[in-house]
Subunit: 348 residues, 2 copies
């Protein structure tokens, strides 16, 4: 591997000059710059990351801002784990990461946490933008760069990137899988769509995607919609119970637009065989989900690898701010389909 010194020797100048040219810091003639660039090309100069990183060691500080780990059935713990993994890695590169949590159902908690983060003097923020309206105001004139994960606020064009899901498409995909589970040609069938609490952009998009698939491809399928109000198992159970009691027969399939599918599964299991075999599709591989999948109560889980989102998000922020890498404005993570037969390969 060629070093700065190799280039300098080849051209007949000093490393200082080469470095100035490399970083366009002025104080050189265009003539030597041309020669240097040619030599770099020929000798295939690659900067030594270690040397660069070592020299540039100056306590970088970042923070992440996501909902409380236990909210949404533990979904945010997965994201937090990814952030922690990135944090450990960045630690040995001389940076620190603060994890800040807020109550996603409280405007107050959210804005206080965000304000605290903005005032804490960190160099960059990783934000799960689950409260777009609250956050938008505060971020308008944020002095520091930020990156969104999980949920986006596209209007904030200064955000350095968004890493997350294509939620409409994931709903659409759920629709297809449900359609397959119903069995072709067994019309008419009735499917129950459950919209969990804390309705945000992504939930609505998933619902819309699901509906869109059914309307365009499976006209014989009738959709019923149910809205949950509390992110809690008991409440979910009773709500589902009253909904199912009011019907003539059991639905032919149930779709839950987030990880609350966990509650639906525990309900169906409790109610026995007839209920358990209703096709059930939902989101996110949170702890405890595995058993319902391997028992076959949950047929498909879609996931957008929250752990990876957290990890990637933090690493991207670092690369953007410290290494000056270019980053994509929008990164959609792969939509994974998890079912009984490939579940094991997704466990860490």
């Amino acid at each position: 591997m060629a070093t700065l010194k190799d280039i300098a020797d080849a051209v007949g100048v000093s490393i200082g000059t080469v470095d100035r040219i490399l970083h366009k810091r002025g104080r050189y003639s265009e003539k030597t710059a041309e020669k240097v660039r040619k030599a770099m090309e020929e000798l295939q100069y690659t900067p030594n990351i270690h040397a660069r990183g070592l020299k540039k060691t100056k306590q970088h500080r970042f923070a992440s801002l996501i909902p409380l780990e236990e909210q949404d059935s533990g979904y945010w713990k997965l994201l937090a784990d990814g952030i922690r993994r990135a944090s450990a890695e960045l630690g040995s590169y001389g940076s620190t990461v603060d994890l800040i949590f807020f109550d996603r159902y409280s405007s107050d908690s959210c804005s206080r946490a965000l304000q605290g983060a903005l005032d804490s003097g960190v160099e960059g923020l990783l934000i799960a933008a689950v409260r777009p309206d609250d956050m938008k105001r505060q971020l308008q004139d944020a002095g520091i760069p930020y990156l969104f994960v999980d949920s986006d606020i596209p209007e904030l064009t200064e955000r350095c990137s968004y890493i997350g899901q294509d939620s409409f498409q994931s709903g659409y995909l759920s629709g297809k899988l449900m359609h397959l589970l119903l069995g072709r040609g067994s019309y008419p069938s009735r499917v129950l769509m459950i919209e969990p609490p804390g309705s945000n952009y992504h939930l609505k998009q998933r619902m819309a995607g699901f509906r869109s698939y059914m309307e365009s491809t499976a006209p014989g399928v009738e959709l019923e919609r149910m809205k949950e109000d509390l992110d809690e198992e008991k409440s979910f159970h009773s709500c589902l119970e009253s909904c199912l009691e009011n019907r003539r027969s059991l639905p032919d399939g149930i779709f839950v637009a987030n990880s609350s599918v966990y509650y639906a599964a525990s309900y169906l299991k409790k109610k026995g065989e007839d209920y358990s075999r209703i096709p059930l599709i939902g989101y996110d591989l949170i702890p405890g989900m595995e058993s319902y999948i391997s028992e076959g109560i949950i047929d498909f889980i879609l996931t957008q690898q929250p752990e990876l989102q957290g990890y990637q998000g933090m690493i991207t922020l670092y690369e953007y701010l410290v290494l000056n890498k270019e980053v994509q404005k929008e990164v959609f993570v792969p939509l994974n389909i998890i079912t009984r037969e490939n579940l094991r390969t997704f466990e860490t």
Copy 2:
């Protein structure tokens, strides 16, 4: 972040002593060692990767040994791309990677390539063990560490790791998806299983997994088996043609155990609507596959992210040999299910 110097100052010794204790290089008393270890704990010492890497810059050389990129419909190019990505990354850490290719249908080509790699003086080898018998002999007393990707030879216990697929399980999963596509209750149906040429362990496992699912779960499904002999489009087409002509009716589903599903798709497309709508399941997202998926000719593609396998494999080898990290003996990559509706999220 605490540095060696911080630890040294805290204990009242020099950094040389701390370093010797850290690396157990002798020349210290157990008494100071104890104090140092305590200080490291308290001050949360994390070695600075950059400083370490910089000091240890000494041209590490590795090589990879995989089949020719165009074989198996271009499957190996994906793996090679992953290795190249790792190579670029490791380059800036001062290491080089040679990519060596061999003809996977020639024992001679394989053993010459392997011998060349072993004699080239590299520090570690990444090997796609697609010719277990040939390779086993040569690797018995290989002087250098090696790691397998894609295909394994579990008997060689000195291999530092294996990164790849659980092929039986992936066949089993294919079986489930095929079952869904057939539509529940539409028995009896007949499914054609195609075993591509170059029959190896993984192909056979996939076939076995598929058959196992059907036998255990879908007794009404009748399986027919067809064996291909040449890895070539024309030959595949004529073989498939003669097979389909000898039947009373079209099969209700087709399963191809590797990326040759590409040839099957091009055949079905050519033959028009009746053929195109036959459920078709296969493997690997090779270039050109996308269009058949989005047209709906291929219903499901399973993939074990060959690009990731190549990348991960090379990085793991590096971590094992250079950073002395512990590595898992066996890593199964996630089994991804790709279909029309999530295809886009898997394109890079």
